[in-house]
Symmetry: C2
Subunit: 301 residues, 2 copies
């Protein structure tokens, strides 16, 4: 079977800043085909979204087809702005927004994000992963951690998002390692587990001293031949430790799920384990698709 | 009187990463002339230093002339590496290093930096400012704060540098404001004193939560129309507050001098005042020159 013979009953789309991923779905929720594109939201002007989507999904169309999309495609800089719902609310509170299309076969429904007033916070894309996780784990109460450029900690109870907090830990790591004086001491690759553990425990034990610890990486590289992999891993440990210290009101004494298959999510699981806070690691891609499927079912009512 | 008629008894040079500044000095320590160049250490390869210096000081030369230089010119990437002395030590422990020159009139002596083993730390350039401050304030004991890209807190007692700690606060501010998602919310200019005070007091009261507060600037800009100047000032308040919290073992109960004439130093003085820690603000340029003069006298024995 080739793509030319696949006709989708509906199409699921995860459209982020850097990439777009689409799945041709059957009515029963099976994946018939999959496409990945580098035409992320960040590269597109408003009228570029429809052609980019058609490039990926045209072979699957056979008449008007519902398309469910999540992620930055719904931001103010995206295809169409899909408003934020305010917590407390279900991960998918409904209120999908139709994106305008020339091609009548494209019936694009964009999922809105979630906002919180105090402290101010927003998510867009993660709500679909949370919905997917909850669809697979009925009646689950606890805290979901979604590591990434902007890591989210989300308190979920009674099938609602109660509160959440975003940490810029991933972006800070990249920025500090690339754009500050530490770039001379931190290589693009390399790891040292003991150095990660040292940074983590330092930052968790005395989080108020985080600002004092960064320059030591440069000084130790100059004076004590601190290795690049050790500097890189310790910076990561310091930043994740500071995050875990600040996020303690979220995870302490809670059931915890960490969403994401990669090494970063594994670091969070291991770090939480050192705090006697066992967490379950959940694969991210399948969860996103489960969330898009939940959204499709909600739409079809 | 023009530069052509000025002959220096000696020349003082402050040679940093981005700029070089030179003063033609009389034997008695008066400034006869001054030159500024954008040929900082960061732009020069090793054989570029002598021509860059000559461009600035050649008119002042009349036979072999002692030249005292401080700053990154003495780093491993500089003209000649001038080793670090270990604390506790005088701000100017001696051990100047001669830079190699083709022109025999240039007798260049480079001032070494200061290092600390635990926690690892280094300074290069600030030791000369500290020496200048101590030359003007005999028998001064207390803590000197030198705000900048890498702010230093230095404990001075009995005319020695006892310990010090570097904070990357200035560089973190620039990097976060320029290279992260906060760049969409933080303009290059603009200020809001109340927002600075809010960030400062938040970070000082709960420094362990610093990692949780950054993304709020983005979310408040999206949800609550937080102004650019307010976002910029609050980021500064958060970072300086986190620094003051971590540096508290330095400044608490101490006599404090903040070196630097600019608005940044004023922020530190005002921030310390909110903690009932009065600090004296001292002009930086004059202090550097006083330190280079002290170094010249030390060299001449």
């Amino acid at each position: 079977m080739t793509d030319q013979t696949i006709k989708a009953d509906w199409i699921a789309v995860d459209w982020g800043t850097t990439h777009m991923r689409a799945w041709a779905m059957s009515a029963s929720g099976s994946v018939l085909a999959e496409a990945v594109s580098d035409q992320g939201m960040g590269k597109l002007t408003r009228d570029g979204f429809e052609p980019a989507l058609l490039d990926a999904v045209a072979p699957w169309l056979d008449g008007p087809t519902p398309i469910i999309a999540c992620g930055m495609v719904g931001s103010r800089q995206g295809w169409v702005e899909a408003p934020y719902a305010a917590v407390p609310c279900p991960a998918l509170p409904g209120g999908f927004v139709r994106a305008p299309t020339q091609n009548p076969d494209l019936q694009v429904h964009v999922i809105g994000g979630i906002k919180q007033t105090d402290p101010a916070d927003v998510m867009r894309g993660e709500e679909t992963q949370i919905a997917g996780f909850l669809a697979r784990n009925k009646n689950w109460d606890g805290v979901i951690c979604l590591p990434g450029t902007h890591t989210k900690w989300v308190h979920v109870s009674a099938d609602e998002v109660v509160s959440f907090q975003t940490f810029m830990t991933g972006e800070l790591f990249d920025t500090i390692a690339t754009h500050t004086v530490l770039r001379h001491s931190i290589p693009a690759e390399g790891w040292d587990s003991a150095a990660f553990a040292t940074g983590l425990s330092d930052a968790m034990a005395r989080p108020e001293r985080i600002a004092a610890r960064l320059f030591s990486l440069r000084a130790e590289a100059l004076l004590q031949d601190l290795s690049g992999p050790a500097a890189r891993a310790r910076l990561s440990g310091l930043l994740i430790g500071a995050e875990l210290a600040a996020a303690k009101p979220y995870w302490l004494g809670q059931q915890i799920a960490v969403i994401g298959a990669g090494a970063l999510s594994r670091l969070y699981v291991d770090a939480l384990a050192t705090q006697a806070a066992p967490a379950t690691q959940v694969k991210g891609d399948a969860i996103t698709l489960a969330g898009l499927t939940a959204a499709f079912r909600l739409l079809k009512g």
